[in-house]
């Protein structure tokens, strides 16, 4: 108390050096043990979503809490498209696919007259949509298979280095959500293992998730095509085959989690109906659970869409979140900042 009283005059009169000023101002609080650590989620507004996250992390990491969870069970799974980065006007892997078909076209003169390739080469969206699921699958296989895993990694890296998002004219990996980057880091600092569980291609994500999200390749789960081991010119290779192996979307997500992790997450983060089963699977485990949906509500800084959107539809999952009390992030209200560059 004497110390505090003694300091007051200095604080009131201003300090000549900023650093001294801060130290003096904090002195009493430090002594009293009342200084909070730096805010781990500075891009989140002080509202219920942020509070719910921090309260959950406190409950499962505090050894004296009845809901304490040992670190090895702190598994947190994140959808990617629309949850960690944007997904409009189409999944970013769609831009990659189109660019790849165009890059391969000179080796495939027959594509000029063949749908759905013709549609891509002529930027004919109507014909592309008309080709349906079968057409999309055919394009995906033509653009993602026929190379080794190492070659494909290089192709993805090269594309990311030059491709730009049409609205923001920036690399696609700039369009990640700053509040989610903070959340990933905050969970990891608290002993969580963070995973991506995405409908996107696993080998489309792995070349950049470690650098961008701090998530290493072995913690990325996604859709995949079949691989074949072979020896080419005396060297072992893994060739990517034009044959779907696993579709990690909707009911595929809990399957992907079980296949690759073998334990149930205690926290799951998504943004669309394609994440519903992952959140249900997470919620159904015993002990403390945390389920969160990112609701895209900000057409100015990002996009606003939900129940009617062809990409990232959020309808049934939103109803279930509201019914069951899962956390729903209102991007416009909850996030001070959307992208790191804003």
């Amino acid at each position: 108390m004497i110390f505090r009283r003694n300091l007051r005059p200095y604080l009131g009169q201003g300090c000549s050096y900023f650093r001294t000023c801060v130290l003096l101002a904090m002195g009493p609080a430090i002594l009293a043990g009342r200084v909070a650590l730096a805010d781990p989620l500075p891009s989140w507004n002080e509202a219920s979503a942020k509070q719910a996250i921090i309260e959950f992390v406190r409950r499962v990491t505090d050894k004296s809490s009845p809901q304490y969870v040992p670190p090895e069970q702190r598994i947190a799974t994140f959808d990617n498209d629309g949850t960690l980065w944007s997904e409009q006007p189409m999944y970013f892997q769609g831009f990659f696919t189109i660019d790849r078909v165009k890059a391969l076209a000179p080796q495939h003169p027959e594509w000029k007259d063949r749908q759905p390739f013709k549609a891509i080469l002529e930027n004919d969206t109507k014909a592309l949509v008309a080709s349906g699921e079968k057409g999309v699958l055919e394009i995906l296989m033509a653009s993602h298979a026929g190379v080794t895993t190492e070659e494909f990694e290089g192709i993805v890296r090269d594309w990311l280095a030059t491709a730009r998002h049409p609205r923001f004219n920036r690399p696609f990996t700039d369009l990640v959500f700053q509040p989610m980057l903070e959340l990933l880091a905050y969970l990891r600092e608290n002993g969580f293992k963070t995973y991506i569980i995405s409908g996107g291609g696993i080998e489309f994500m792995r070349p950049w998730t470690e650098k961008v999200y701090g998530i290493p390749p072995e913690q990325v789960i996604g859709s995949s095509i079949k691989l074949k081991f072979d020896i080419r010119e005396g060297r072992p290779i893994l060739m990517r085959l034009p044959d779907l192996d696993f579709f990690d979307e909707g009911p595929g997500k809990p399957v992907g989690i079980q296949k690759s992790i073998g334990r149930r997450p205690i926290a799951a983060f998504g943004n669309s109906d394609g994440d519903l089963q992952m959140l249900q699977w997470t919620a159904a485990g015993e002990g403390p659970r945390f389920m969160l949906l990112v609701h895209h509500t900000d057409s100015e800084r990002e996009w606003a869409y939900d129940r009617q959107s062809p990409i990232g539809r959020l309808d049934k999952a939103l109803d279930e979140a509201l019914t069951r009390g899962w956390t729903v992030v209102d991007m416009k209200k909850d996030w001070k900042k959307i992208f790191p560059f804003q």
Copy 2:
């Protein structure tokens, strides 16, 4: 030197207290920085295999070494059957399968007259072998599918708690190799992430690998059957379907590694031709590599088999190891102890 000279008389005359004695004896060595840390591989004889392991670990962990490998890239993959535990007179999962068919038989009266089930119920090995690959697959599906992932985990745990190996009359998880347990721990202490890459069933292994090997479920890769997400009585489940999803053996091992880890191991450990492609894939990466085969040469303490064995055949992989200078462990000569209980 004065200190050392002064101590000699005491050491020569014996010490009244053992602890004092040891401290006095070690004093000069401690001062000279010449005390080695405790031997990390005490069950390994001082021979070339042990030296090769220690030398490799030193090279990749010493920051001043030109072959230094950052911790996140220190991926080590281990086969299970015959590499971490025994596999004779048949893969231990075979015993589980037979016991499971017998346990399910009352619910399947038709099995009494239907091969290959009849063969199992009558302990008719000849008829079982005659049923071929198709018969084995049918038995595997009948005994491993039709339950949820959670139910299956309980079934495996219950079986392990009561089943005994016919030769040693001990739980199967007692038949793990003490030198390999030490190797796993030693690698992990040196920043390696240790994985199992097994032809065996992934969900047959996960219930016990953490306790027995210190390998968590998310670092176990194996063969699998398809899973289906469903809601049963309002609760999400994953049902195990009688349909092979992935066969993690031979050329499947590098595929399984790529699917689940997404990076190439720098060290790989196996014991049979089914591990050859994993070792080739590991060897073909850039930078320092370590490939090791366990050669079963000890019919007294364990089993002796290689080129002609129907289980765990080691033929082509042994030739390749000898040609390329991979480390081959001679169990009889290299291992002081095989099982922890011996």
